[in-house]
């Protein structure tokens, strides 16, 4: 099971955190600080796994961002690398060649996509197309709702004139 997902920039700024195991706010800050110290300092040719507090952290760097997932000792590290890549590909497809700024300004979108990919720390959907379709469907639901409210406010505004 994945205990948490972290996206950390090369400068150590947090871009996304998702916790599937209970960590208090204090612990979360501590975990982030510990792991960014551990991971950001590792050289480029080293393996993508770090042993940490009896758990394993699998990380992969994409451009300036480190994607980290923390798993149990008996989980399949190589598979987690694939899951990370899977997530990155979905993000890439959604934003159209994703960059760090996309994830900063649309952080909630990154969360929505992650929620279509993982629940309870387990993989939910192996098909990138399905994930993209589901996110798009929900986005359009939001759009229609927005249009409705704005048309209603327009009507009210015109009526008020």
């Amino acid at each position: 099971m994945i205990h948490f997902v972290l996206l950390i920039s090369r400068q150590g700024k947090v871009r996304l955190t998702k916790w599937y195991s209970p960590y208090s706010q204090k612990e979360r800050t501590k975990v982030i600080r510990e792991l960014s110290g551990l991971i950001l300092t590792r050289g480029p040719k080293l393996c993508n796994f770090v042993e940490w507090r009896g758990l394993r952290v699998v990380y992969k760097r994409y451009a300036s961002l480190y994607f980290c997932m923390c798993i149990d000792e008996d989980d399949n590290e190589l598979e987690i690398l694939e899951i990370i890549h899977h997530y990155v590909e979905v993000l890439d497809r959604y934003f159209g060649s994703v960059c760090e700024l996309d994830l900063i300004y649309n952080f909630h979108k990154a969360y929505f996509i992650l929620d279509e990919l993982l629940i309870a720390g387990e993989l939910q959907e192996p098909s990138k197309r399905t994930v993209a379709r589901l996110v798009a469907a929900q986005d359009s639901l939001v759009e229609t709702a927005k249009e409705q409210t704005s048309s209603i406010t327009n009507i009210i505004a015109q009526a008020a004139k």
């Binding site: 996304l16 393996c47 190589l78 939001v142």
Partner: protein
């Protein structure tokens, strides 16, 4: 839209925060935004609620407190529109965790949303429940989730399946409800549902043996077929990763098969063909393929024996190990650790490769490989492997040294074929990384040396040689100092020369030089210096020609600022100057230390060690703790504390006592155990270390006590300890006893022996409950009748260990109280040890009022806090 809304857009806020150049600026922006959001919350602003929550989430991610937004999440979730709910659930998952009570309030909204007509809203609720559900929520909402496992839309079914995993992990009792719906998910075609269904079955098997049996009977063939289909399926673009159709599904199926096959030969048999196929046909040039192979190997290793498959699996691991990709090598090592339980021989074949990995530049791989090497070592290969590891120790980087040293030491200890080999290896480790070894390691080495009587000469010469070369490794210096002290004569005279040795010439003054360097060196700790001082003292009789020089060095230390060194040098120089007749007996060699006691101690009870070392510091005549003595005491008391009263050999007793080690329990009936050897006891008591309290064992003792009361002279109180023994000395050898007093007093002139016996007080059970006893031992310093030193000893009378033990005391205004730190904060169960703590009470109205004290004792037992309180009124009257 409200044109007067004060809030900025989310995008603008992020931009403003990113534009900040300093942390202070960022804090200011965040503070302003938070204030605006709080204001909006207070006004119950509905239009911008979701925007405010989005902002809060961003602020939260930056690490600022956002608890005030928690209720907003709940409000958004309770609203009707999809956009509000979407952001509300996101906030719920981000800002809260399952331990917050607020979460209980959301259960009702969740229940409604699980039954909502809009499937996306159902999906949102399932996702939130799956990610943060607590046990109570899981129990409440399990029926809804179970129903959703049969929902028409597969995307809801898959979410419900993962949500069920969370539920059964939180409440394992619910597992049986999910068994049948889960097994029907295994027949699905939709990969999302299939993958989550397999995962749910795996987790069900983990929490319920009933489920395990059920799936074993009903699902194995179906699962094998699914795996075969997916492994043989033609290219399908939707699920393809690096030429393999859905590796995620592969991996999950293999994982479930592993659990089903483990411990069941029939089930294992069903899956051998497909496992062989996956293991041999999967492409290993991409990560996805390797991930499948890795999982497959693990399954092969775990299911019931099948020789052919295992050979295949070990070969795959061999390929992994020689792979250039570090990730693959890492998982290879990881898997070999599991394989070693199954087939150690096959793993041994890869020994050379594994040793290479220990030297890898990647810390993760180093660590894995070291663990593996550790498991690989046995009697037959311990020599070459240890050699390799020690060679590596020389070049390894600092942070890894501690780890590797510990491993080597434990291997050498476990598999050592001969004592000389053990000693050689330990010397190498100590000279390479002496600062990284734990105390037990060099303690154990000393025990071994002490027991290898034919190697004493060899060892002391070898130690002398290496310690001259690497003076900065403290534990090496300690062992060397100890050995030179014990076997110094063998060092100089080349006694017991072995053929393999290179002869060295060490003169007596060289050896003394080495000790002097150890005492004077700034970098070495107090323990080492104290050990060197004792070694010098011992050498004084081994090397008569150097005795003047030794005396000088000891005398120099009389001025040492460190109490321990000062006191010891004063004692030693007294012995050197005035007591030639007993000196040679005092510095005799240590009796051979008992290995069995030591190993028993090491394996068994920490508590004994704690109590043993804690008694020493508190019984010094001047009442000042000196913890540095503990390690030595700990080391040397091995033979003494099991049978304290039994005299092993008189010289040995002297020595142990001299080194601070007589640990006979404080309440021992001293009168009886001591009477046979009165003459020697005088000495040991004078040297300050016997822990026997003044027990009024004979009527004459009381006489003396009372007589000294009457005198009321400013008597030199010898801590009460001396009172008893000097009394017995009175009877046997008054003259020598007077001389002994001299030892402790340094220069004090003694006119009347009787006056030496200051008032002594019986110890007092100050507090006793059904679970705890506290005993007070009193002592006063000469010339200061107002001040009483109290040593409190706590004993646990219950069968449970007390943790976080804290003793507090309060006294009325006319008293002043000073509490020293306690010896420990853990009190072992059933009186198996004790905590001691020293108190200093100054009575400003001495002679008018007697002591009184209110106490409070707090500790934790069985995770419960316990508080005991009491008042002590029964102090002896004249304290």
């Amino acid at each position: 839209m409200n044109p007067f809304s004060s809030g900025t857009r989310l995008r603008d806020m992020i931009r403003a925060i990113r534009a900040c150049k300093t942390a202070a600026e960022e804090r200011a922006v965040v503070r302003k935004e938070c204030a605006a959001i709080r204001a909006a919350i207070n006004e119950n602003d509905q239009d911008y609620r979701h925007r405010n929550l989005a902002k809060l989430m961003f602020i939260h991610m930056l690490g600022y407190p956002t608890h005030f937004g928690q209720m907003e999440c709940l409000k958004l979730i309770a609203s009707t529109g999809f956009p509000e709910k979407r952001i509300g659930y996101l906030g719920l998952m981000l800002l809260l965790d399952e331990r917050q009570e607020v979460l209980m309030l959301v259960t009702n909204s969740l229940k409604q949303d699980l039954n909502h007509s809009n499937q996306y809203i159902v999906g949102l609720a399932l996702c939130a429940l799956g990610n943060i559900s607590s046990a109570e929520m899981a129990r409440d909402l399990a029926p809804d989730v179970e129903r959703l496992l049969q929902f028409r839309d597969p995307n809801i079914r898959k979410k419900a399946a993962l949500c069920s995993i969370r539920i059964i992990k939180k409440v394992p009792d619910l597992a049986e409800n999910f068994m049948h719906p889960a097994s029907s998910l295994l027949k699905e075609k939709h990969h999302g549902v299939l993958i989550t269904g397999v995962q749910l079955c795996t987790d069900l098997c983990k929490v319920s043996s009933e489920a395990l049996e059920y799936f074993r009977e009903n699902c194995i063939e179906g699962l094998v077929k699914t795996l075969r289909d997916i492994a043989n399926s033609p290219y399908s673009p939707e699920y393809d990763i690096a030429g393999i159709t859905d590796p995620f599904l592969h991996i999950r199926l293999l994982k479930l098969l592993r659990i089903l096959g483990q411990g069941d030969a029939g089930a294992s048999d069903c899956m051998t063909d497909i496992l062989a196929q996956v293991a041999s046909r999967t492409e290993s040039n991409k990560n996805a393929g390797n991930a499948i192979l890795y999982e497959c190997v693990e399954t092969i290793m775990s299911i019931e024996d099948n020789g052919g498959l295992r050979v295949l699996a070990i070969n795959i691991l061999g390929r992994f190990l020689s792979n250039r990709d570090n990730n693959i090598r890492y998982v290879g090592l990881n898997m070999l650790m599991k394989a070693i339980m199954v087939d150690a021989k096959a793993v041994q074949r890869h020994r050379a490769t594994i040793l290479e990995c220990v030297k890898d530049s990647d810390a993760s791989i180093q660590k894995r490989a070291l663990e593996l090497v550790y498991l690989l070592v046995n009697e037959s290969n311990v020599k070459p492997l240890t050699k390799e590891l020690i060679e590596y120790l020389e070049v390894s980087n600092q942070e890894f040294k501690g780890d590797i040293t510990a491993k080597i030491c434990s291997l050498v200890e476990k598999f050592s074929p001969a004592k000389i080999w053990y000693i050689d290896q330990m010397l190498k480790v100590l000279s390479e990384a002496g600062n990284f070894v734990k105390d037990e390691v060099w303690h154990a080495l000393i025990i071994v040396i002490s027991n290898a009587s034919d190697l004493h000469g060899y060892t002391v010469r070898a130690l002398y040689r290496v310690s001259q070369a690497s003076t900065e490794q403290e534990s090496l210096v300690r062992v060397a100092v100890w050995c030179v002290g014990e076997y110094g004569d063998m060092l100089v005279n080349n006694v017991g020369m072995l053929d393999i040795e290179e002869p060295i010439t060490v003169t007596e003054s060289d050896a003394v030089d080495a000790m002097e360097v150890a005492i004077k060196c700034q970098r070495l700790g107090l323990t080492t210096k104290a050990m060197a001082l004792i070694a010098l003292f011992k050498l004084s009789s081994r090397f008569p020609s150097c005795s003047e020089r030794i005396k000088d060095i000891i005398v120099q230390n009389k001025r040492s600022l460190v109490l321990e060194l000062q006191q010891r040098s004063i004692e030693f120089s007294c012995i050197l100057q005035k007591h030639h007749n007993i000196r040679s007996a005092l510095v005799e060699r240590m009796p051979i230390l008992d290995e069995a006691t030591f190993t028993g101690r090491k394996a068994g009870s920490l508590p004994t060690a704690v109590s043993a070392s804690s008694i020493i510091p508190c019984n010094l005549p001047n009442g000042i703790a000196k913890p540095a003595a503990a390690p030595i005491g700990d080391l040397l008391d091995l033979s003494s504390d099991d049978a304290p009263p039994a005299p092993v050999s008189s010289g040995g007793d002297f020595l142990q006592d001299l080194l601070g080690v007589d640990l006979s329990p404080a309440s021992a009936p001293s009168g009886t155990s001591q009477s046979p050897k009165t003459g020697t006891d005088v000495l040991l008591d004078l040297l300050s270390i016997g822990t026997l309290p003044p027990v009024q064992s004979s009527s004459s003792a009381i006489d003396i006590l009372s007589s000294s009361h009457d005198n009321k002279a400013p008597v030199a109180n010898l801590n009460g300890l001396a009172s008893h023994s000097s009394l017995s000395a009175n009877a046997t050898s008054p003259a020598s006893s007077a001389g002994m007093m001299d030892l402790l007093n340094g220069t004090g002139a003694i006119t009347q022996k009787h006056e030496e016996n200051g008032p002594a007080y019986p110890s007092l059970v100050a507090y006793e409950s059904s679970t705890l006893r506290m005993t007070f031992n009193f002592s006063k310093q000469p010339g200061n009748p107002q001040t009483t030193f109290i040593q409190a000893t706590f004993t646990n009378l219950s069968p449970n260990v007390y943790n976080g033990f804290l003793f507090q005391a309060a006294v009325p205004k006319f008293l002043q109280l000073h509490l020293d730190p306690a010896s420990s904060n853990t009190l072992p169960a059933s009186g198996n040890g004790s905590i001691t703590q020293c108190l200093k009470v100054t009575n400003t109205q001495h002679g008018k009022k007697s002591l009184v004290m209110r106490i409070r004792i707090a500790y934790k037992t069985n995770d419960k806090d316990v508080l005991e309180e009491g008042q002590i009124n029964n102090f002896p009257r004249d304290l």
